[in-house]
Symmetry: C2
Subunit: 318 residues, 2 copies
């Protein structure tokens, strides 16, 4: 049997069909057009899956089901996207509405949960069944996999690892609170901190590498400037490692996963990112060396994680 996975993003809808070996046999994407009514976006999602089925000459009876990863607050049990800032959805009954186009089962979850499940089934954590994933992007998404299954929380709105406060009263977060992990370890936060540091030290390489325009700052420049020996950039990067390790230690003390995964553009830094974080972790986790301290790995599937993970939502509750 085949399964379809859809990654519903603010910019694009990506879909793929996988086989029983977790291989994506075909994939395609279309712009989300998030300004449109939800029904139109859902019609496009259905159309995208139909198109892939035609490409692969798959009939509906060969499709075990369709999984969707959606951004925002997703009520997986009810099949409803409660609220998504990115695509301006509120209480959209996605499972029912997409289900109208197909006879097979439809499941949904939060996009970060899907990415985590994808990496556990076919990516950087396929050797384990308990993992935590942090997506380090514009925001910080959290995915929690326990015994090979997505942990959504007991009621909708759980697994929001990025929205746990780390510095009470600290930097404002998109969720309305202050001091959240997202406000320190997202790519957005790193760029904010690098801009501030560059503005405070005009002689820092950070400015040169932006071609003198601070608005050109991105998540790669601080690492590049630090590698060139720039003291100010080094401080930005080292603070970032500290924030990330503190956040991860909190999740380790709660979940003790087999592995901690990181994803997003910052992961291009590879072991330059994971090694210092692991070093911090060995001191921060409860029980020190009397307890298991999980390795920190970069995700490997990129965009495919969301598709593979979404397709694997099927059978999560069986």
């Amino acid at each position: 049997m085949y399964r379809a996975g859809i990654d519903l993003g603010g910019t694009n809808i990506k879909a793929g069909i996988i086989d029983e070996n977790q291989t994506i046999l075909a994939q395609a994407s279309v712009p989300t057009g998030a300004e449109r009514p939800a029904e139109e976006v859902i019609a496009d999602m259905a159309q995208l899956v139909r198109q892939l089925m035609e490409t692969l000459k798959i009939e509906e009876r060969e499709l075990a089901g369709i999984g969707v990863g959606a951004p925002g607050l997703v009520d997986a049990q009810a099949g409803v996207v409660r609220y998504s800032n990115n695509i301006s959805w509120e209480n959209v009954a996605l499972v029912r509405e997409l289900g109208n186009y197909f006879s097979c089962k439809v499941c949904i979850s939060n996009d970060a949960n899907c990415a985590a499940l994808g990496e556990v089934r076919a990516g950087a954590a396929k050797d384990v069944s308990n993992a935590i994933l942090l997506t380090l992007g514009t925001g910080v998404g959290g995915g929690i996999i326990l015994n090979g299954k997505v942990f959504e929380g007991s009621n909708a709105g759980g697994a929001e690892l990025g929205h746990t406060s780390m510095i009470l009263g600290g930097e404002p977060c998109t969720c309305g609170r202050r001091g959240c992990v997202e406000a320190y370890v997202s790519a957005t936060a790193l760029i904010r901190d690098a801009k501030r540091a560059a503005a405070a030290d005009k002689r820092s390489l950070l400015n040169q590498m932006c071609d003198g325009k601070i608005e050109n700052m991105n998540g790669k420049i601080p690492f590049d400037a630090a590698l060139e020996g720039d003291k100010t950039a080094k401080e930005v990067v080292e603070n970032y490692y500290t924030y990330l390790a503190e956040a991860i230690a909190n999740y380790v003390n709660i979940f003790r996963p087999d592995v901690v995964l990181l994803s997003g553009g910052i992961c291009n830094q590879g072991s330059r990112l994971t090694k210092p974080v692991e070093e911090h972790l060995s001191f921060l986790c409860f029980g020190g060396d009397r307890a298991f301290v999980p390795p920190v790995r970069c995700a490997v599937l990129g965009n495919d994680a969301g598709i593979i993970g979404a397709a694997n939502l099927l059978g999560q509750n069986s």
Copy 2:
């Protein structure tokens, strides 16, 4: 069938035998004598259970099993207390050693996990199957119940809710880290903050209520002084509510439990504690009123929670 539950504490070993209605039919306690070798403490635990069986005229074939809640880092799967500061144990194979005295099954878990399970089975959360418990005592223990079962973490050393950092680089914590929840919401932390406030404001009622001796400060005085209208005490208490709500919001954003439970002497404050915390929570939880915000309740079983919970460890994995 009957089950025995043992609450192994730094000061006393408490044990009880329960029936299938979660009623404690008999209980007894002896001093732990934690300075002795672990084998002697374990022999006393066995003796205590035998004594209760005699009292109730229960034969061993009527005892389904024995559960133990132990302080510190407990490896429930291996049946080993990895490390416990309170009783100076390191790598004690408690399940095997206590098992030598009985033919029935022996299970162990962390004491806060047992307290949480007890409250879910027979106490303040018996209407739900997903709850978080914080024990607000000398330290802060965390218990997580998911689908009616203790969540230990995927590897030993999880569920340490008190050892998640809330203020990076803040107050030193007993675990060696800084800024942990325990360092702000334990009774010890409240007393520390009240002492500091009293020292800084000699005219505060906090001083009078200590009979002028700051070392007499306890966890009740700040609430009493605040109730009398003392401004300095009010500030201490309001900060405490803030810390507690911030910590709970973090756990809600991860677990979305049906209920959050608090235990420890501070719970004598009842709704004077839970109401302001619930008010803060409604603003702090991710998704605001689009998601479920759990009620905050005080535990009701007191010391019995540990015994009942420990007895209920049996059958957790079936």
